[in-house]
Symmetry: C2
Subunit: 325 residues, 2 copies
């Protein structure tokens, strides 16, 4: 099985690549080659199969990124929410025209590949009161969500036409992200766990009762691998799925943090930030997914396991990366 | 008030241009200039204001098509259903990247213009059993509908960002179209009225009980003019509207034809065409629009008036155009 990961240098791209390298298989079939594509050529994991890496612009996708014979494409390349809002042309180029380029690359192959695309909860709006069913309309409140929702439609049409066989997963907010706090409006959802576990103070810009739809990196990676190997025949025209995330409050995240490291939540300072609250306040905090679980997407593990998994999987690397000993 | 019509040489574009020329005003404000853009420069109607015409590719839209100071843009340019299905690249270029070009042209203006966009019932699926509410999800079953639905999203986002002030109207199947039968799957809905009124035989490829969501050219033109002048403040993020068309059966269309010209329906021969039935069979035949009527979009006139209006407005021109005396 030949696999390409577009956005292979990103957080989830590296998680998927590591899992493939560790397993050596996808859906029970041996992996025979892996191609990693990102803006700059990503580092290759040590793997029992050949790994090619290359860098470039996804809107001018080099043919080598999706070579002839490719069976599965993970299309994870994106300009994220805050960046797409700050730079309209860049977001459109990467998130929308990059998807056109992926479609064109797949059209050129002799056999249509499975394409697994990461769409986002940010393609929905409705705010704290919203609890959305699988057939809810996407009315995005930001350019990133707009470009993701439009890309979902283009990929569904490309599947109908036989250019590819796409599955779009509308991923929740991923917690806990490693690394440093950044300017993404959702950054604090990870920071309120990561920073206290590192012994550092951090700011919480919304009330403790604020609710959010989340998934762990482990669960998101499992979902992406399942989407790559599942039977898509029951999906029909509709190639988009809302996987079963967790609807949690910030207070519940802090309670889970306390369970894993008592006293850590004292490092979280309440500092209201109306600008951030306005952005994240538009996202729906709850979904009622029926279709994805019926198609085999695993239910989410409890919140405390999410915190424990971050401590096990990513805390040491984050500490080293940030020179914290 | 300065107005541009993109797709100004098409059927609805010419209807809108003629109405502006006849009225001299839009929403009570005098029209001061009109620019008509299409693949080839469209003919200019005789009008009490200056009319500029130019031709070109909408995906490489010349700046003169939406000059500085433009107040209203009618974005009607499209590659229609059958053509977008036959040529994926052409449909994407005109219907999707053409819309990007319109957004970019509007961004360059000092003041964001009103943009009235024609989306389509073909952006929905569900078939003969579907009766859709305003918040129904678009799950298109063809590339044209996909490109229209994606363009709606891009225009809503461009409005949120302040590049423009867009209203997207999901127009029903328009009957009665003048001219000749063509290869569009929906061509027969007009032909079963137009051809018998011309004294010509025509074929009906679906059963008499087949239902379809329609609007007359007069009503569609009124809606477009209303969308250009209405208050958009109550629309919020959602810039798409399903105007109140008519849900009718083919049998009801033939009954209306008989009321206007007794005996004419005898010229309609039943010749089943499974290929055409499969395409039009995917479109939903009924909607329950609440939002558009609340925003002032006029209810549809009765079907018999649609047939009478065609006979009054377009029959003579069609007869001349086709050399039928």
């Amino acid at each position: 099985m030949r696999i390409s990961i577009l956005g292979g240098g990103g957080f989830l791209g590296r998680k998927v690549a590591s899992r493939l390298a560790a397993d050596g298989t996808l859906g029970g079939t041996p992996v025979t080659s892996l191609t990693l594509f990102d803006l700059a050529a990503p580092p290759a994991p040590s793997a029992p199969f050949p790994v090619a890496t290359l860098g470039g612009d996804i809107a001018a996708l080099p043919a080598a990124a999706i070579p002839e014979g490719t069976d599965v494409v993970f299309h994870l390349a994106a300009v994220v929410s805050a960046a797409a809002e700050a730079d309209y042309d860049l977001g459109r180029r990467v998130n929308l025209h990059g998807t056109d380029a992926v479609i064109d690359a797949c059209r050129r192959l002799a056999r249509p590949p499975r394409v697994v695309f990461t769409s986002s909860v940010a393609s929905f709006s409705g705010g704290q009161g919203a609890l959305l069913d699988d057939d809810a309309r996407q009315v995005p409140a930001n350019s990133y969500g707009t470009q993701k929702a439009a890309a979902e439609m283009l990929l569904a049409d490309a599947s109908r036409r036989g250019f590819m066989d796409a599955v779009s997963l509308r991923l929740p907010t991923i917690i806990v992200r490693p690394g440093r706090p950044n300017k993404a409006a959702s950054s604090f959802f990870s920071a309120i766990v990561r920073e206290p576990l590192l012994g550092l103070e951090t700011e919480l810009p919304v009330p403790d009762a604020f609710a959010v739809w989340v998934a762990s990196p482990r669960r998101a990676t499992e979902w992406l691998l399942h989407a790559a190997a599942m039977d898509t025949a029951p999906m029909g025209l509709d190639r988009s799925l809302t996987p079963p995330g967790l609807s949690v409050t910030v207070g519940e995240i802090l309670t889970a943090l306390e369970q894993v490291k008592p006293g850590a939540a004292a490092l979280v300072r309440r500092v209201a930030d109306p600008a951030i609250a306005a952005i994240v306040g538009g996202w729906p905090p709850g979904f009622r997914p029926v279709r994805a679980p019926a198609l085999g997407f695993a239910r989410h593990e409890p919140l405390v396991d999410v915190v424990r998994a971050f401590a096990a999987d990513d805390l040491d690397a984050t500490r080293r990366e940030r020179g914290l000993g």
